[in-house]
C-alpha cells in the first residue's frame, strides 16, 4: 500500500507506475494481430495500396515500434492521449465524456454492495442461525456464483419485460427531461445496472462482515461496553461495527480493479454509455489509441481509489494512524 507520510514519494511511485502501465499496454497491443488501417479500409470497402500507405504514414504506423512508443509516451506526458481513428475526436475528450457514467455506475454498485452486504452480515452475525441469515446467504451466493451478464439479463427479463418498471437500456430517455427530472431519470436507468454489478460483491461483503462481526462481538471490549450499561444497539453498532468494518475497508481497496472489469460487462448488457462499453467497442474496432487511453485512465482511477482506501483505513483504525508518527 502507498505511504501517505511522504506525499512526494507517493507521487513519484504513482507516476512510475503509470509509466509502466503505459509502456506495458502499448507493447501488449503491438502483439495483437490486426492493424487498424486494414479495419478502416475493410469498412470503406477496400482501397488502393497507395491510399493504404498514405493512411499508415498519416497515423505514424510506418515508424518502428520503439519510435511509436517514444512518441506516444512523450505525448501522454503532456496529457495528449492521441486521436481516435474511429470517432474522429481526441481520445481524452472521448474518455472524459464517458468517464462520469462509469464512475456513477461503479460507485453506486460499490456503495450498494458495501452497505447492503455489511448490513446483512451484521444482522446475521447477531443471529447466525436465524431465518434471515440463511435466506440472505443463499440469495447472495446466487448473485456471487451467477455470471454478471446472466444476472443482468434475468433482471431485464423480470423488471423490464415481464413487469416493466425499469427501462431496458441507456442512461436517459431519448428525449431527456430537464432540470431535476433529469437526475431522477438517470437514477431510474441506474437501478438495474447498479444492482447487477453489486450482485457480484454483496455476497463477499456480507460474508466478510459476518465473520468479522462474529469475531468482534466475542471480544473482551464488547463485554466492557455492556458492563458500562450501553444499550445493545450501541454495543453492536458503535463498539462492534467500528472494528468490524476494518476488513471491509481493506476489501473495498482491493476490489476496485475488478469493479471496472465487472462494469465493462454490465455496461455492455445494459447499453450504459460508460468507459467499459467504449473499451469493448474500441477493441472490436482496433481503435488502439482509445484502448490505450482507457487502460491508462482505469489504472489511474485504481491508484486514486487505493490512495483513498488508505486514507479511509487510517480513519477507521487508529493503530495504523499512529505508525506515521
Amino acid at each position: 500500500m502507498t505511504n501517505l507520510k511522504q506525499p512526494l514519494v507517493f507521487l513519484a511511485q504513482s507516476v512510475g507506475l503509470a509509466l509502466a502501465v503505459v509502456v506495458l499496454n502499448f507493447l501488449l497491443i503491438q502483439l495483437a494481430p490486426g492493424d487498424p488501417v486494414s479495419v478502416i479500409v475493410g469498412e470503406m470497402g477496400g482501397a488502393s495500396e497507395e491510399v493504404i500507405a498514405q493512411m499508415r504514414a498519416a497515423y505514424g504506423l510506418d515508424k518502428s515500434v520503439l519510435e511509436q512508443l517514444l512518441i506516444y509516451v512523450s505525448k501522454v506526458a503532456v496529457g495528449d492521449l492521441g486521436y481516435s481513428y474511429y470517432h474522429n475526436s481526441p481520445v481524452l475528450q472521448l474518455i472524459m465524456q464517458r468517464l462520469p457514467a462509469t464512475v456513477l455506475l461503479a460507485l453506486s454498485a460499490l456503495t450498494l454492495a458495501v452497505v447492503l452486504g455489511t448490513l446483512v452480515g451484521v444482522l446475521s452475525a447477531r443471529k447466525p442461525h436465524g431465518l434471515l441469515s440463511s435466506f440472505v446467504t443463499v440469495v447472495s451466493l446466487i448473485g456471487y456464483a451467477a455470471p454478471v451478464f446472466w444476472t443482468g439479463l434475468m433482471l431485464l427479463l423480470l423488471f423490464s419485460a415481464i413487469w416493466p418498471i425499469f427501462p431496458t437500456s441507456g442512461m436517459v430517455q431519448m428525449r431527456a427531461p430537464k432540470g431535476f427530472m433529469y437526475y431522477v431519470d438517470v437514477a431510474h436507468h441506474l437501478v438495474l445496472p447498479a444492482v447487477t454489478l453489486a450482485s457480484i460483491y454483496i455476497a463477499s461483503y456480507s460474508r466478510l462482515s459476518r465473520t468479522s462481526m462474529i469475531d468482534v462481538l466475542s471480544q473482551d471490549y464488547i463485554r466492557t461496553a455492556r458492563a458500562k450499561g450501553l444499550p445493545e444497539g450501541k454495543v453492536v453498532y458503535k463498539h462492534g461495527l467500528r472494528n468490524g468494518l476494518i476488513p471491509v475497508v481493506t476489501m473495498v481497496g482491493l476490489q476496485f480493479g475488478q469493479l471496472f472489469a465487472g462494469a465493462t460487462l454490465v455496461e455492455t448488457v445494459f447499453n450504459w454509455p460508460g468507459l467499459g462499453r467504449l473499451a469493448f467497442e474500441s477493441i472490436l474496432r482496433r481503435d488502439y489509441p482509445t484502448i490505450l487511453g482507457i487502460l491508462l485512465m482505469t489504472s489511474i482511477l485504481v491508484m486514486v481509489a487505493n490512495a483513498l482506501t488508505d486514507l479511509a483505513y487510517r480513519l477507521v483504525d487508529p493503530r495504523i494512524r499512529s505508525k506515521r508518527a
Binding site: D220, T224, R226, K228, N243, R319, S322
Partner: protein, 333 residues
C-alpha cells in the same frame, strides 16, 4: 449506617447448556458485601469466580442462566428486574474491572471517549463536561499528564496504564459496588501493588464496596475485610479475613493458605495449572462432581460419610460459615 448489606447473594444456582448437557456452574453460592467494605472472592482456576461476578452484573455469556437463588443490591432483586432496568444500574451503581487489561479496551476509541461514555449515558453530560470528568478520573487513577493521555488510544498505553483506565472507567459514575476480576494477574508485581493501593485510596474516597476476585491470598490479606472461598461452584467457607486467615476451618482453605507461607502481596499467586502443595489433584471439570462433598476426592481428612452426602452449611460464631462434615461433627461433639 444501614444494617442490611449492600449486596446479598443467596443460594445462587447457575447452569450452562453446552449444547449436549446442562451442567451446574454455581451451586448454592451465598455471601454478602457490606457498604464500603471489601470482599475477597478466592479459589483455584475454574471454581466459578468470574461466573459469580458476571451473574451479579447480568452479563452471563450465552448458554449460561441463573436457575434459582437471588441477588439483591440495596434490597432490590436484580434477577426480577427487567433487562433495561438492570442495564441502567450497570456502569452507574455497579461496575466491573475485567481480568484482561490488554483486550478490554476498545482499540478504535480514545480512552477519554471510553471513560466519558458512561458519564454521558448515565449522567447525561455533554461531550465537553464528559471530557473534563474523564481527565479528572485519569488524574484520580494517577496517570501522569492526564490532559494528554485523554486523547490516547489504548495501544499507546502500557498494561498497567490500561488497567488504570479500566478502573477510571468503572469508577467514573461513582458506583456503590465495584467488582474487580483479577485486576492485576496480567501485571508485574510492582504494578500490582500500585493498583491495589490505588483501589484502597479510591474506596476510602468514594465509599464503594469492592468484590476483589483473586488467586492471591496475600492480596486478600492486605485488601479485604471479608473472604468467600469458592470450590467447584460451591462456597466452601466465608467470614471475616482475620478469622478465616488465622483460623481456617475448611480443609480447602487450609490448603490454599499453605501455598502462601507469608501472607504478602504477590507472594504466591495460584496461577492456572499450579497445583496446591498440600492438596493434591485438581478442580474437577463441570459435571464430574462427587455425589457427596465436592472436595472429598482431594481432602486429606475425608471419610466415607464425606464421599456419600453433601455437607450442610455450618455457622461458626457470629459471622463464619463453613461447608464441611468434619466441622459439623466437631460441633456436635
Amino acid at each position: 449506617m444501614s444494617t442490611a448489606p449492600l449486596l446479598e447473594v443467596t443460594d445462587l444456582v447457575v447452569e450452562v447448556d453446552n449444547g449436549k448437557r446442562i451442567l451446574p456452574v454455581l451451586d448454592g453460592v451465598t455471601f454478602s458485601v457490606d457498604a464500603g467494605r471489601t470482599l475477597g472472592l478466592v479459589g483455584e482456576s475454574g471454581c466459578g469466580k468470574s461466573m459469580t461476578a458476571l451473574a451479579i452484573m447480568g452479563l452471563l455469556p450465552q448458554g449460561f442462566r441463573v436457575k434459582s437463588g437471588d441477588i439483591k443490591l440495596d434490597g432490590k432483586s436484580l434477577l426480577s428486574m427487567g433487562p433495561d432496568a438492570l442495564r441502567k444500574l450497570r456502569g452507574s451503581v455497579m461496575s466491573m474491572v475485567f481480568q484482561e487489561p490488554m483486550t478490554s479496551l476498545n482499540p478504535v476509541f480514545t480512552v477519554g471517549d471510553q471513560i466519558g461514555e458512561a458519564l454521558r449515558l448515565h449522567e447525561h453530560l455533554n461531550a465537553a463536561d464528559a471530557r473534563t470528568r474523564a481527565i479528572e478520573m485519569l488524574r484520580a487513577v494517577q496517570i501522569p499528564a492526564p490532559e494528554e493521555r485523554v486523547d490516547n488510544y489504548p495501544h499507546q498505553l502500557s498494561g498497567g496504564m490500561r488497567q488504570r483506565v479500566m478502573i477510571a472507567m468503572a469508577l467514573a459514575c461513582r458506583p456503590r459496588l465495584l467488582i474487580c476480576d483479577e485486576p492485576t494477574t496480567a501485571l508485574d508485581v510492582t504494578v500490582q501493588a500500585q493498583i491495589f493501593s490505588l483501589l484502597e485510596t479510591l474506596q476510602k474516597e468514594m465509599g464503594t464496596s469492592i468484590i476483589l476476585i483473586t488467586h492471591d491470598l496475600g492480596a486478600v490479606a492486605e485488601m479485604a475485610d471479608d473472604v468467600a472461598v469458592l470450590y467447584a461452584g460451591k462456597r466452601a467457607e466465608a467470614g471475616p479475613v482475620a478469622t478465616i486467615l488465622d483460623n481456617p476451618s475448611h480443609p480447602y482453605t487450609r490448603g490454599l493458605m499453605s501455598c502462601t507461607p507469608r501472607l504478602r502481596l504477590g507472594s504466591a499467586a495460584l496461577t492456572p495449572g499450579h497445583t496446591l502443595a498440600e492438596v493434591r489433584g485438581m478442580v474437577p471439570p463441570l459435571g464430574q462432581f462427587e455425589a457427596g462433598c465436592r472436595f472429598s476426592p482431594r481432602c486429606p481428612m475425608a471419610d466415607a460419610h464425606c464421599h456419600a452426602a453433601p455437607p450442610p452449611d455450618v455457622h461458626l460464631g457470629a459471622s463464619q460459615t463453613v461447608l464441611c462434615w468434619k466441622v459439623t461433627q466437631e460441633q456436635a461433639a
